[in-house]
């Protein structure tokens, strides 16, 4: 009686055991966690003169070792467009621990010599604070090589300075490399798949270089872009509306304007937006009920919040605005509108 469980306790023990069996196993892309023991025990049953007997084998066990793998992905399609000079040209990267144990990675940048036009001045690595915007020193702290859990990623900025006076389209290549801190500490700076550091892994397992050789590197090209956005404005016509088809600039006369925005150089000018504060002597014809023609498309001058189009007029500031979005080199857009002399 002394050793028997109370019925309620027995039930709760049983149910907690059952629960333990249906708990989903931690499943990582990186595989079974380093240090996990894998046990195997066979059973045998057989008949003999005394009936059916069963027995078990030894419990054969191995411990899963730490596999060290990394992935380093450049977050740019094509070249990284920069100015000349550019004191802080960032390259966005995502570093992922694709191994099965906690691991830190050491990062380096080096210039590629010979195949490109210029060398950069190698700068630091920063850790993005989560907004994907490069804010060195303020929001984005210097990369300190913190340990990453299996499957964990970190978004990084590799920064370099681009020299002055480079020609348009000049290129500079850099190699960005992530190396397992475990291998680096062990003095193995170029580990190959299958190389290992005995006892240096999680839970004192061996740290084994995986298919990536515990290192990853990417070559990134900086390309100088002398991109320029030019804007011109001209009167294209005027009408005095005095009945003789005249074009005198008199109060009440209509004056047509054309703004031309064109992009030259290399690459893409992002989020181009044009703003034209009209002088007090002019108002947009029909003000917010008027129209603005962008690249031949007639758009309402109503506020963006009302009609959603990219051309709008603010009657309070007497300012006309057009959002042109991204423009590639060679693009040119005409903005036409009519004003009335007050």
């Amino acid at each position: 009686m002394k050793y028997s469980c109370k019925p309620w306790l027995r039930t709760s023990l049983l149910s907690s055991l059952a629960f333990a069996f249906i708990l989903p196993q931690t499943s990582l892309a990186a595989g079974t966690a380093a240090g996990t023991p894998v046990q195997n025990q066979a059973t045998v049953s057989y008949s003999t003169g005394g009936g059916t007997v069963s027995d078990v084998s030894n419990r054969a066990e191995f411990v899963v070792q730490e596999l060290i793998n990394a992935s380093l992905v450049v977050q740019h399609t094509g070249d990284v467009i920069v100015n000349s000079p550019d004191p802080e040209a960032p390259i966005k990267l995502v570093l992922t621990n694709t191994g099965n144990g906690d691991e830190a990675f050491s990062l380096t940048q080096t210039n590629v010599t010979g195949s490109d036009d210029f060398d950069v001045t190698i700068g630091s690595f920063y850790v993005d604070d989560g907004d994907g915007v490069f804010e060195p020193g303020t929001e984005d702290a210097l990369y300190a090589g913190a340990e990453l859990a299996p499957d964990a990623s970190v978004t990084l900025w590799a920064v370099s300075a681009i020299p002055d006076s480079l020609a348009d389209n000049a290129t500079g290549d850099v190699v960005i490399k992530a190396l397992s801190a475990t291998f680096q500490t062990a003095g193995q700076t170029n580990p190959q798949p299958g190389d290992f550091v005995a006892g240096a892994g999680t839970s004192s397992t061996n740290a084994v270089a995986g298919t990536t050789g515990a290192q990853q590197q990417q070559t990134v090209t900086y390309r100088v872009s002398a991109i320029a956005v030019a804007i011109t404005k001209a009167v294209t016509a005027s009408r005095d509306l005095l009945g003789q088809g005249g074009s005198q600039y008199v109060p009440g006369a209509e004056v047509d304007y054309r703004i031309t925005v064109s992009v030259t150089g290399t690459g893409t000018a992002t989020d181009v937006s044009v703003s034209d504060p009209l002088p007090d002597e002019l108002l947009l014809k029909n003000t917010t009920n008027g129209t603005i023609t962008v690249g031949g498309v007639v758009m309402s001058a109503k506020a963006k919040a009302i009609d959603g189009d990219d051309a709008y007029y603010d009657a309070n500031t007497n300012t006309l605005s057009v959002d042109l979005g991204d423009m590639n080199s060679g693009d040119s857009v005409d903005i036409d509108f009519t004003t009335v002399i007050q």
């Binding site: 195997n40 066979a42 059973t43 045998v44 008949s47 007997v53 066990e61 191995f62 899963v64």
Partner: protein, 153 residues
Amino acid sequence: MRALLCILMLLPTLTWAEVQLATEIFKVVETTDDQGKVKQEWKKADAIVPGDKVGYLIRFTNKGEQAAGDLVLNNPIPDNTLYVADSARGANSTIEFSADGGNAFAAADKLFIEKNGKKVLAQAKDYTHVRWIIASELPAGESGSVQYVVQVK
């Protein structure tokens, strides 16, 4: 009562058959020779990492004085591993699998599971157990072995 228990415990060692099992672990390494032929080698099991193949060799020996009949070896597929299709071997035996924790066993081409309300053939990754039904008696002093391969998740 206690006396009876002791006699029962002693019985197998005294007479008849006594089959002992020993499980060994190997690292299964695939190498490609000059002719491009893939060869499997069972090596010492060191530095096993996710993705590696692990071979289990289960030796059975009859240490008793009489033959053992109806020999059945049963082995759960270890946690964190998946059975590698067509890897189970065993001379003079019928190999069966279970996909429900060892309740029902059937040959690989006759083992079905329910998936989304449909009855489908169980895949190697679904297996929870493998067992070998040895066709003949194991005479006293004789031994044999069976084997299979898993892949570490």
